[in-house]
């Protein structure tokens, strides 16, 4: 991560609350509740977050949820599979739009 993104910014995330503290507090409370142990374990939620971080290509999230996944006891086999899940959905989402292409082409073609 270099240039536009700075690793040292991640610990400063809470500064976003400087100009809208109530919204930040609501976000923080909700975020904390989302990742708490529930019907899904904390580890499962971290792996989902890691996969989504790759799908949305957020460098901060990738760093944060790589560390968080390791700290929940996940290993690289599991984390790599999670990234493949995200990649498969991204790839599949592109590919399935091929049907739109086929529909459009069919409409245009004789």
């Amino acid at each position: 991560m270099s240039g536009y993104y700075h690793p040292n910014d991640l610990p400063r995330f809470a500064h976003i609350g400087d100009h809208a503290p109530e919204l930040w507090e609501k976000f923080s409370a909700w975020y904390g509740a989302v990742f708490a142990e529930g019907a899904l374990s904390e580890r499962e939620k971290c792996l989902i977050a890691l996969a989504v971080a790759h799908a949305v290509q957020c460098p901060y999230c990738i760093d944060a949820y790589t560390q968080a996944s390791l700290e929940k006891g996940s290993n690289l086999d599991q984390m790599t599979e999670a990234v493949h899940v995200a990649s498969a959905i991204r790839g599949g989402a592109s590919l399935v739009h091929g049907l739109q292409m086929r529909n459009a082409a069919a409409k245009l073609s004789m």
């Binding site: 610990p11 580890r43 560390q67 929940k72 290993n75 690289l76």
Partner: protein, 344 residues
């Protein structure tokens, strides 16, 4: 190789303390964290664990070792000092003797210490690296431990080979599994067996351990399914930013982030349960410390308390002030960390 063998600057405890105490670092002083939690000055609450570090000799050279132990190290406890340990122990009713190293079993006085401690009616724990059980010179070690009902606390950082060997050396995982099977065959770790077998998890890198109950369940499931290995409990222990792990942190550019991680995860409840408050740590030369980490940083027991077994005085040691430093964040992060796992 050990840092000493490499003539590395961090082989010096003064250099380690210089790094840890660098005033340019952003973490609040550990003493202030204790003060903010109402725990300053930190003091012992009594002694229930008499932990004897019999020396730095080891058959492994693990990459995270806080002792900087290895086959090249020659600092080991003599018979005379072992006798001082037993004489001190006999003056007290401390229930548990925790023998560590290095590989403590390689000390010629290990079996003497274990046998005599049992004779005094104490519970004895052996902090075992597992591979030592397969050394030709230790062919009867597992049987000795079982015959004396010594609890085995064995290091195994993960249930897979890659992570274990990355931390502890090539081939260690396979040898560890073989040793665990040997212990299981003697009754160690079996559900209703009095032969206690507990495992120790250390993170294989610059991150905190997972929830102890969660990773214990993983280990039980995976070691059982893959290798037929059973054990009683698993303890998670945070890597302390000293010695070889400190060298790893600095060399890989992880030091600042790791220290920030430890400090930001400071947990007052974990601080209240710090193992130094109920442990007395004895060095290979008979010097006294609050814990094995302070021992490796040459930080002796605090002001006024007897500093050597020769001057052992349980009354003055029971309520002694504890010596702390920035490394202590390693024991207070998250659910806490001790030789017996989480503390909060």
């Amino acid at each position: 190789m050990s840092l000493v063998a490499l003539n590395h600057p961090l082989a010096s405890t003064a250099e380690q303390l210089r790094v840890l105490n660098n005033p340019g670092r952003p973490q609040r002083p550990f003493a202030r964290a204790l003060e903010d939690s109402g725990l300053w000055p930190l003091a012992a609450t009594g002694i229930t664990v008499f932990q004897i570090n019999v020396g730095k000799l080891c058959n492994q050279t693990c990459r995270h070792c806080h002792v900087d132990a290895g086959p090249d190290r020659r600092e080991i406890m003599t018979r005379e000092t072992a006798e001082l340990c037993l004489a001190a122990l006999a003056q007290t009713d401390i229930p548990t003797v925790d023998i560590t190293g290095g590989a403590p079993e390689l000390n010629p006085n290990f079996r003497y210490l274990a046998t005599e401690s049992k004779r005094l009616g104490r519970h004895v724990m052996d902090r075992c690296n597992l591979s030592v059980l397969l050394l030709p010179s230790q062919a009867d070690l597992a049987e000795f431990l079982a015959a004396h009902q010594v609890e085995v606390v064995a290091s195994l950082p993960y249930y897979q080979q890659q992570q274990t060997d990355a931390q502890r050396g090539d081939g260690v995982f396979a040898r560890s599994i073989e040793a665990l099977r040997k212990l299981n065959a003697l009754g160690y770790g079996q559900p209703s067996s009095p032969l206690r077998l507990n495992l120790v998890y250390n993170p294989v890198g610059a991150f905190l351990p997972p929830a102890q109950h969660a990773i214990e369940a993983d280990f039980k499931r995976e070691l059982g399914r893959r290798y037929g290995v059973v054990f009683h409990s698993l303890y998670t222990i945070t890597n302390m930013p000293i010695s070889r792990f400190l060298e790893f942190l600095l060399r890989t550019g992880n030091y600042d982030r790791y220290m920030e991680r430890l400090a930001s995860a400071y947990n007052p409840a974990a601080a209240a349960g710090l193992m130094c408050r109920y442990t007395l740590s004895v060095g290979w030369d008979g010097a006294l410390y609050d814990c094995d980490f302070n021992q490796m940083l040459d930080l002796p027991v605090g002001s006024g308390a007897p500093a050597h077994l020769r001057d052992f005085d349980p009354q003055r040691l029971h309520r002694r002030p504890i010596t702390t430093g920035q490394h202590c964040y390693g024991c207070t992060a998250g659910a806490g960390s001790s030789c017996g796992g989480v503390t909060a």
